[in-house]
Symmetry: C2
């Protein structure tokens, strides 16, 4: 359970001026909760809470803030304190903070770092955006295969005292090339005088620093490992990526898919902190693009004005027919986008998916045609009853199949065009299906009712 | 990187009859890859591949299969082999397999278990569906606070030899109540004669077995921990949940949200393995429900038949206006559903979100009104140009605001009604927005063009 009671308690204590009570409440809280409490606190109290923390926890709490909050804090803090925090952040957290800055700010902040940290940060920022290199920390423990287990354990203890993660210990050769990854457990269970090489099974999953961070997510999920070693092209160990960072990345990437499927651009800040103007800018683009698409629907309808004037009752079924088409398309697009993103379906599976979808669509289309033909009979003008039932039934079946086909193909097509499949949003599919739906519906109507457009 | 080359190599080798080559290829592969290769292999080769594995890897490979594939395998295997696998599965994997069975099969499979395993499985299956208890494994290592570090390490070594996970070691009292969770690292760094109590900080995050598994996901993500202890109501340690299981749950829950947002019911099997009839059944329900909603749109349009007959040009703008409303609503619903599911927004934030959305919607509405009024002028009949521009502009602004409000409120409302907020799918929002849009558009048209419906 999320211990949110302490957060509420802390926020209540804020209204009093009892700093001592606040300090002892803070002492009992996990740093993640403190971070959340500070984010939730009224703006005027945030800095006060932060400064009540002991120095070493401040850096930790800072690392759990959202990027915009980090930015706001670093400006408000005393410059020496800001410098201290920046220097104390672990390398991957520091990269995450630095990459969120604009170039001018970045330059200013880099000046605050010591020469070692500066070199390291420049190196990490040198990896492409959204690459594994930007996520990794160059802090890991490596031992040599010819060391004894006892010597390795001494080395591990020494590194652990410096605060490194030691659940996994890596074996490298004299060039730094990764040979194996071993659990701490194996060193404890092994004979102390055995060579490290005796523990090795040389089954080591690794990833290259230049690869996309989504590949790291998939690798960690696929192999159920908690720490993934990162190498360069020649296999030299550069750093590690841990499962907690990966979970954050997975959450971000999924949120991006959601936003795109909802026809927004990706809001890369928490919604609670997003300003209305920011949200407006992320949303207006697609709405305007879709106006363009919908205009084509309007033009298609206008083309059939004569048909509508002859049988105004046709308009009654229009929303039903075109929406159903869009709905079936949204279903299949959403299923495909998700399956492509979890790796459940690969781009090469498109033909298999298309033919399966065709079967599903025919079944859906026939059911929907029956349902709506019934309505056609009920609603139809006495003299046109049967004809109307045929028109709406046939049109329904055809548009469901068309919508489903658009929905299943568009994500594959977008991926082929190196775009994000999630761009196949429900609103886009709906708008495209509308155009096809209008043309199909009125063509069938004209044919059966023997009208001319 | 996912090492999918070995998978492809394996599948290529299948076409030959060289079992020896297959065996040596299998020896080099990670068990997760073997599982994936078997799933991808043509059905007639699956069993052959599986039986080429050494016995101890077969159980492991089995645990990575999808549920339907597990079910298919267990029926095809020799009964003794099926029994062996079932007995060797770790408790959480066994629960996952058993809970996927129907009652009759469940009973048959439970009979295959030894008395100890049976008792344990019945206990784990006794927890509510989708609860933490169903996910946990009762295998953990616990030590007492008054033990020396040396004694604790002896115990840990002993348990590790039995295959238990020991990254985290738990401290419990004589009643089994959880006192603390310690990293293996602390035992290695500590003085060997110190009591375990000296290592303790009593900062321990835990969760109760009856809680929803989504709470476990959020707790592990929030606290960045890899192992979460599970207790009963009195704090007695029952088991642990590990981060790899949690990542699987998070992925499933997210997929469920996607499917629902796309107006399907949740497809709880991988799409590649889903039959067309299964997919049909998951999708037809919402399509039919939405027919009902769309009929109301049709009835609303019929109510304005006279208006349409007077100015058929109004139909030209109809898809544009009502779709835009649905699009804005889909945007806000998707943003809200995702924010609610990541915990970025809490149910109590509804008013804050509503007022922020109102600002955004007004901005969006005004922009869209300008865009579409321009079209109104361009498309308008000469004698109605200005009036039409006013009608479509005003209507657009109003429907965007209405759609956005529906989109932002419906997820909160559904959550309040203890339904899944993701039920607020784009198709549902679109259909609801259609009804409102039609009423608003034609009312404004009637008022400005001084028509009577």
């Amino acid at each position: 359970m999320l211990q949110d009671h302490p957060i509420d308690q802390l926020l209540t204590l804020l209204t009093s001026n009892d700093d001592q009570a606040l300090i002892s409440q803070l002492e009992e809280m996990a740093v993640q909760d403190i971070s959340e409490a500070i984010s939730d606190a009224p703006q005027e109290n945030r800095l006060r809470l932060f400064e009540l923390l002991p120095a070493e926890r401040r850096t930790d709490a800072f690392s759990y803030f959202s990027r915009p909050l980090q930015r706001a804090f670093i400006d408000e803090l005393d410059p020496d304190e800001a410098k201290r925090i920046l220097r104390e952040l672990v390398p991957d957290d520091r990269t995450a903070f630095l990459e969120s800055l604009d170039p001018q700010d970045l330059e200013n902040f880099l000046k605050l770092l010591g020469p070692e940290d500066l070199k390291q940060s420049l190196k990490l920022l040198g990896y492409p955006e959204e690459s594994v290199g930007r996520l990794m920390t160059p802090r890991f423990v490596a031992v040599r295969p010819d060391w004894s287990v006892a010597r390795a354990l001494d080395h591990i203890r020494h590194e652990a005292h410096r605060g490194e993660t030691i659940n996994f210990v890596f074996v490298t050769d004299h060039k730094g090339q990764l040979l194996d990854s071993l659990r701490l457990k194996s060193f404890i269970l092994a004979r102390q005088d055995a060579p490290v090489s005796q523990l090795m099974d040389e089954e080591v999953v690794h990833i290259q620093a230049n690869e996309d961070r989504e590949a790291a997510v998939q690798t960690i999920q696929h192999y159920d490992i908690s720490t993934l070693p990162v190498t360069d092209r020649r296999g030299v160990l550069l750093g590690i990526v841990t499962v907690d960072d990966i979970m954050d990345v997975a959450e971000e990437e999924t949120t991006e898919d959601f936003h795109k499927l909802g026809a927004s651009r990706y809001l890369n800040v928490p919604i609670r902190e997003a300003s209305p103007v920011f949200m407006y800018r992320k949303r207006i683009g697609w709405l305007l693009i879709l106006v363009g698409v919908n205009l084509i629907s309007g033009i298609s309808i206008a083309y059939y004005e004569h048909t509508i004037e002859s049988v105004v009752a046709l308009v009654f079924f229009l929303p039903l027919i075109i929406d159903s088409s869009g709905n079936a398309g949204s279903q299949s697009a959403t299923l495909m986008v998700r399956a492509l993103s979890t790796g459940d379906v690969a781009p090469r599976d498109w033909l298999r998916m298309l033919s399966k979808e065709l079967t599903v669509a025919i079944l859906l289309g026939l059911t929907m045609a029956l349902a709506v033909a019934g309505v056609g009979v009920w609603r139809g003008y006495p003299d046109l009853m049967v004809e109307l039932a045929w028109v709406v039934g046939l049109a329904m079946c055809a548009v469901i199949i068309m919508g489903s086909m658009i929905g299943v193909m568009l994500p594959f097509l977008l991926q082929r065009l190196r775009m994000d499949p999630a761009t196949a949003s429900a609103p886009l599919i709906t708008s495209l299906a509308d155009i096809g739906g209008i043309l199909i519906y009125f063509s069938i109507a004209n044919a059966i009712l023997q009208l001319t457009p």
